[in-house]
Subunit: 271 residues, 2 copies
């Protein structure tokens, strides 16, 4: 199959990564996509690196078996803890895009030498991966785990008193004094980017990774670029979860921004 028509495989621990799938499907409307949300094991954000690596490896195997031509790790906890494992299973012929390096690249270009804030799950922040990459690119970094935000958003608490109280609890007390930009290091957070912005000092930018990730796919090869233009014939999109509940079905649409039908597929050896 020509590479351009092999599906882009996108995975996350749950449905938050649909914000990334949305940006990708907007940029590559003709390109087939397979989204895999590991809802049987979500959230990854509180799990140990070893367990995240184990889950991410298994999903990668599944996406490879499904014929994917590229893999996007649409989950910061997995990107920061399991990139090596995913790459090793994908092999040399299947490119892997994580959700962290493209945004670090974009941020570093604009904010070199300046102070950048990062928020994310505990697994993401504790890995130190954002901190290391941004520091290597000459940024100063203030990172903070904001573990309840993802579940709050998943529960539909955004643009309201609960989310604003929570954001305030996490962002205040000087944790991010002096930053020029705040990176949303979790694929759930774009849904509350406006609320976050309104609680930060004027002039601080809020940066999410979805567009940078979609752009990184474009840069991969001309094959992918082929899928970019014409939206007359939208590519086939499959949305798979490892455990299907009504609430995931309801939530999926909020994250993807248009109707989504989830199908359930147990991972081989899932337990």
């Amino acid at each position: 199959m020509p590479k351009a028509f092999r599906p882009i495989g996108i995975f996350d621990s749950g449905i938050g990564g649909l914000t990334v799938a949305r940006a990708i499907s907007k940029r590559f409307p003709q390109h087939p996509l397979i989204y895999f949300g590991d809802t049987a094991h979500l959230p990854y954000g509180e799990k140990s690196p070893e367990l995240i690596q184990h889950y991410a490896a298994r999903i990668t195997r599944e996406l490879v078996d499904l014929g994917c031509g590229a893999i996007v790790i649409a989950c910061n906890s997995a990107s920061s803890n399991a990139l090596k494992e995913v790459r090793s299973i994908a092999g040399a012929s299947i490119p892997v895009i994580d959700v962290i390096q493209p945004v670090v690249e974009a941020v570093a270009q604009r904010f070199e030498g300046q102070s950048i804030g990062v928020i994310g799950t505990r697994a993401t922040i504790d890995s130190g991966w954002y901190q290391r990459l941004l520091q290597e690119r000459g940024c100063r970094v203030k990172a903070k785990a904001t573990p309840l935000l993802a579940s709050a958003i998943e529960e539909g608490f955004h643009a309201g008193k609960v989310s604003s109280t929570l954001i305030e609890a996490y962002l205040t007390k000087g944790a991010f004094d002096g930053i020029k930009a705040l990176v949303l290091g979790c694929t759930h957070y774009p849904l509350i980017s406006q609320e976050i912005l309104s609680l930060l000092p004027e002039g601080v930018e809020v940066i999410d990774s979805a567009d940078s990730v979609a752009r990184a796919l474009s840069d991969l090869s001309d094959d992918f670029a082929m899928g970019e233009s014409d939206s007359q014939n939208p590519g086939l999109r499959r949305f798979i979860v490892s455990d299907l509940t009504r609430s995931f079905q309801l939530g999926a649409e909020r994250f993807f921004g248009s109707p989504v039908i989830l199908e359930e597929r147990k991972l081989s050896g899932q337990a």
Copy 2:
């Protein structure tokens, strides 16, 4: 081994069930306990009944293999969705106490014919198990899923602005008008029972299940009662989790109310 000295096996999806373990260890200070928190798969509250049954069955097998003489399901999501599976694996010789029937019994005796509120995870409330049991005992029931509460408490948000905003968001708008008592249908909630009480109309009682469950163990047999009295020789207590992180270690103490050392043990076939 005499039954009285076989450990009581207690399990939950995470560390919330330590509130039940605490009540049990207070009542049976001499009795050995094995607590199993399935942190690799938490939270159960958002998972499908089938997956909860699968996890609960596997932990039960583990506790039976570890020689437990009784099993306590210290998790409402598992009690309401997997009691049959746990009983079937425990067999006739190992009694199983769930966290719902004892509290329903206690509530029904005091509030027959009256209106009772229940809050819990989505898996617990969607199962309809509390509603059915309380209605069979002549109570009227108002049940509501409050899915974010458990993770908020696990993150240390209690007795503060975040938890009170969240409780208010869940409990107001007349959801529980006219109730005489509110059952805390999740083993995390005892940590915020005072906050919940302060937001309910005067006279409404807040009821948690920990003491009823400990009492139910007493009623099981004289063997168990043997362990009740003398606290001179505290029984051996083991606290096992299927995925160990620093935050679980820190949280465990809050739920158990005294120092806890967690050990990690992968479940056989865990994936």
